[in-house]
């Protein structure tokens, strides 16, 4: 198992190099001069301009710039944001908890609803209920989430007035930055002593709509996957044996069928990390959620090259690693695939 994992990690190296090359050179192709952005487009002193260019290492041949960049990456230096003048890594990790918290809530929403729906659809196969559930989940799968977010705001915030429109928490609360996850930080003793549980519920309320918007497509995928995986398992011999033993259908479905059907479902869920980031880009833009997605879109609009470059590198490498990890876990939970 360990050798398999190490081999897998080694095989990632060419992909990671490719990712670094793409994120490095693609950014160089964006029209506009980053040095001019720094010194200001108007009235730039040629000497200051050249000095700045030299400081940034932009006067070197491009391949040297690449090796210079990679050298820095290995030292944990992804450059400095042109807009905020802060280190890209610092900005990234400052915002990442917000995206992760939203992503986890969206996935919890998707799994808690998606798996039961899929199981019900499979058990009631070809019944009207099955058609309704699968029709609904295909609709969810087709959902333009940037529109879905707005509709949720329209219904729950504008019409009913029960959920906030944007942000992570009501501005009146001052939350200490411990973990960056507001659902955890609001439960810290200092906050509870001063404000009680109100900040926690405020954070929870802010999470509801974005989680639904972001979790809808994963929910649809989970439900569809659960249904087809369950159908496959329900047709197998051991289910017939369980029936012959006189077990109740609930017992059969939950203990025998679902447990075996879960393996492919878990894999699909693990591989959804990429779509979570895609979802984050659109959801965070709509709900003004201060995470990675909104940050990247803003940096592309403001041509903040180091941020785009670092963000791409971070996210793509993370996806590659997580996929490799899911692959290995798949072997771990499915003994049939082990040799």
């Amino acid at each position: 198992m360990l050798t398999h994992f190490l081999k897998k990690m080694l095989s990632l190296i060419p992909t990671l190099v490719g990712i670094s090359i793409i994120s490095f050179f693609l950014i160089r192709l964006i029209p506009g001069d980053p040095v001019l952005l720094l010194v200001g487009e108007r009235g730039a002193d040629p000497e200051v301009y050249m000095q700045m260019k030299k400081n940034l290492g932009l006067d070197l041949p491009i391949y040297q710039q690449y090796f210079h960049y990679i050298g820095n990456v290995f030292q944990g230096d992804l450059g400095t944001s042109i807009v905020s003048k802060r280190a890209v890594t610092e900005e990234f990790f400052g915002r990442f908890p917000a995206t992760l918290e939203l992503g986890v809530c969206a996935m919890v929403f998707a799994i808690l609803i998606g798996i039961p729906l899929g199981v019900i659809a499979a058990v009631k196969r070809n019944s009207p209920l099955d058609y309704i559930l699968m029709g609904t989940s295909l609709t969810g799968y087709s959902m333009p989430i940037f529109w879905w977010g707005l509709i949720l705001i329209l219904i729950f915030s504008v019409q009913l007035g029960i959920t906030p429109v944007s942000g992570r928490i009501d501005v009146i609360y001052d939350i200490p930055h411990l973990t960056g996850f507001y659902l955890i930080d609001t439960l810290s003793p200092t906050v509870i002593n001063e404000e009680g549980l109100m900040p926690f519920f405020s954070a929870l309320k802010h999470l509801i709509l974005p989680s639904i918007a972001m979790g809808t497509i994963p929910l649809a995928i989970t439900a569809r996957m659960t249904r087809s995986s369950m159908l496959e398992v329900l047709g197998e011999d051991f289910i017939r044996t369980a029936k012959a033993k006189g077990l109740s259908s609930t017992q059969i479905v939950i203990h025998h069928a679902l447990r075996n059907a879960l393996i492919p479902i878990v894999t699909v869920i693990g591989l959804m990390f990429g779509s979570i980031i895609t979802g984050a880009i659109l959801t965070e833009t709509i709900f003004s959620w201060p995470g990675i997605g909104k940050w990247l879109v803003a940096s592309i609009t403001s041509r903040d090259y180091p941020v785009i470059q670092g963000g791409l590198l971070f996210i793509a490498s993370m996806i590659v690693f997580i996929n490799a990890l899911v692959d290995t876990l798949y072997l771990l939970i499915n003994p049939k695939l082990r040799q």
């Binding site: 029709g135 799968y141 529109w147 707005l150 329209l154 504008v158 895609t278 990247l296 879109v297 791409l312």
Partner: protein, 287 residues
């Protein structure tokens, strides 16, 4: 001998699949709107009607009546929506053509020639797949500049990997079959084996993927439009219309509701058809 997949029986089986019939109906409906758009509405999509700002659906202003109301510039919403169908279907079509040709060709080459050519192509696929689709599309658009055509290229790049992998996988299966060995022993050229013998047998999964590619293309292009990186105003693209009307969500909710509903229904149509086609074309599910 190539096996004929799309035979008479195929259409009979497809007709029995309710989902794909519903999908086909939706697509035909949008196609009808798109083709006859100029004849279905007395207005032009960028015609500004002064004084008729943000009218609700079924309302009229003087002698003019507006089926679905007007937007913040007094343009007829129905007209913009049906011209939007033209744009979205065109985007979907262009994306599918681009990704089928480029992806199909790369997949065919990767599957047919083993060794470093295959490894290079598949590595390229791995790298592309490491970037979340919308993020990659955004970066490609920011390199090439915003606009409808650039958005189409960006969305096609994003959908390449699935086509390459799919075609390669089917070529790998077909390549080892006897009919390929037979035609090779007759001295057929690589070109002939690839395009005339193998390719027709990979068509079935490609049709399914192309149908689903339509929906992905429409959805991603609309997302780019919404972020201001796709087609540019005054193009009546559904994503832009949605972004433009965000500010009026409280006062004129139909401006937000209708363009998104069009995206949803159109995408749903292609997904229904794609699902149905997959079930119909999958030999395992045939009786």
């Amino acid at each position: 001998m190539a096996i004929k997949i799309i035979d008479k029986d195929f259409f009979n089986r497809l007709k029995k699949n309710k989902g794909s019939m519903a999908g086909l109906f939706i697509i035909t409906f949008f196609l009808f709107l798109a083709i006859f758009a100029p004849f279905l509405s007395p207005y032009n999509f960028d015609q500004i009607n002064e004084g008729a700002l943000r009218l609700a659906p079924f309302s009229s202003h003087g002698e003019l009546s507006f089926l679905l109301g007007t937007d913040d510039l007094g343009r007829d919403l129905f007209t913009r929506l049906i011209f939007g169908a033209r744009i979205s279907l065109f985007i979907g079509f262009a994306v599918v053509i681009l990704s089928v040709t480029v992806g199909g060709l790369l997949g065919l080459i990767a599957g047919y020639y083993e060794g470093y050519i295959e490894r290079t192509i598949m590595r390229f696929v791995d790298i592309l797949m490491a970037f979340p689709s919308i993020l990659l599309a955004i970066v490609v658009v920011s390199v090439m500049g915003p606009g409808l055509l650039n958005a189409i290229v960006a969305v096609s790049v994003v959908s390449l990997p699935s086509f390459i992998r799919l075609v390669r996988a089917s070529v790998l299966i077909e390549k080892s079959k006897e009919y390929v060995q037979a035609s090779r022993s007759f001295g057929a050229s690589d070109f002939r084996i690839m395009f005339i013998e193998i390719l027709p047998n990979c068509i079935a999964p490609m049709i399914v993927q192309a149908t689903l590619g339509f929906s992905d293309g429409i959805l991603n292009a609309a997302a780019l439009g919404f972020l201001g990186l796709g087609a540019q105003p005054p193009t009546p693209e559904w994503g832009i219309m949605l972004a433009d009307s965000r500010a009026y969500i409280e006062g004129s909710p139909w401006l937000v509701t209708l363009p998104g509903l069009c995206i949803l229904i159109c995408v749903l149509g292609f997904n229904l058809l794609g699902d149905g086609l997959r079930d119909t074309l999958d030999p395992k599910l045939r009786k």
